[in-house]
Symmetry: C2
Subunit: 122 residues, 2 copies
DNA sequence: CAGGTGTACTATTTCACATAGTACACCAAA
DNA sequence: TTTGGTGTACTATGTGAAATAGTACACCTG
């Protein structure tokens, strides 16, 4: 689940993974998220790295911490995640622009999007 | 043109910039590309960093070097760049998939692509 | 009280990136 | 032939983010 060889930092992979599990319903709203030490031993990652990920998730308002009890999924976690995703639409436009400039045809771009849409509905 | 504060390494920015200039016709096929030292002083970047970018461009077959004379745009540079772009289509699909999972609607994705297409044709 | 929780430190290691400086072989024009 | 610009190679150094290691403390709950 965690790729230490990836160019994307481990702590970012963990952030993405937690958000993904929230979206998939594996981490229900209001429920407790795995503890720092639990995730640490489960993933074989240093606790400080997990802590860094959780600090980021707290900053994003996706989870909230109750020192002594644990970290819990925020009631509006899904909304927060969705809003952040909306702000990433320009990334999609930029990437599409690069490919267009390189000579990729528009239909091929639309086909790539359609591919993602089809994968989503199954 | 070069953003030293960007998360993208300078040498990658230079690679992208050269390929972009080739696609735009600013660096015509067969013509000489700016020399290492020339780009170095022009961009205020260390020659070794420019050299690293050129080594990558040579590896991609986009330019070829003639020691003593300079580096020149390969006859099939555009094809090479286009093929590499085609291989990046999965990136577009993956990004679209992430946004879909986060709750972004398909129409919004298509709109983002259309935005890129419109910018291209002007 | 005891155990699990989040949190805060400092220190260390690793690695990619970028820079600095030097040197050499090559080609073309004067 | 000489001169100047070209690519290329090499070592050394500095920088910053990322990750690890270890310790410590405050908090909540059973």
């Amino acid at each position: 689940m965690i790729d230490k060889l990836s160019s994307k930092p481990v702590y970012e992979q963990i952030v993405d993974g937690v958000e993904r599990n929230i979206l998939l319903g594996l981490y229900p709203v209001g429920e407790q998220v795995p503890s720092v030490r639990e995730l640490s031993v489960g993933l074989g990652i240093n606790p400080n790295t997990i802590q860094k990920s959780y600090t980021e998730l707290i900053r994003r308002g996706v989870i909230c911490s109750s020192p002594g009890s644990g970290c819990f999924v925020t009631p509006d976690a899904r909304d927060r995640i969705r809003r952040r995703a909306m702000e990433r639409l320009p990334q999609l436009t930029a990437l599409a622009g690069e490919l267009l400039l390189a000579g990729v045809r528009a239909e091929e771009l639309y086909a790539a999007i359609e591919c993602a849409v089809k994968n989503e509905n199954k």
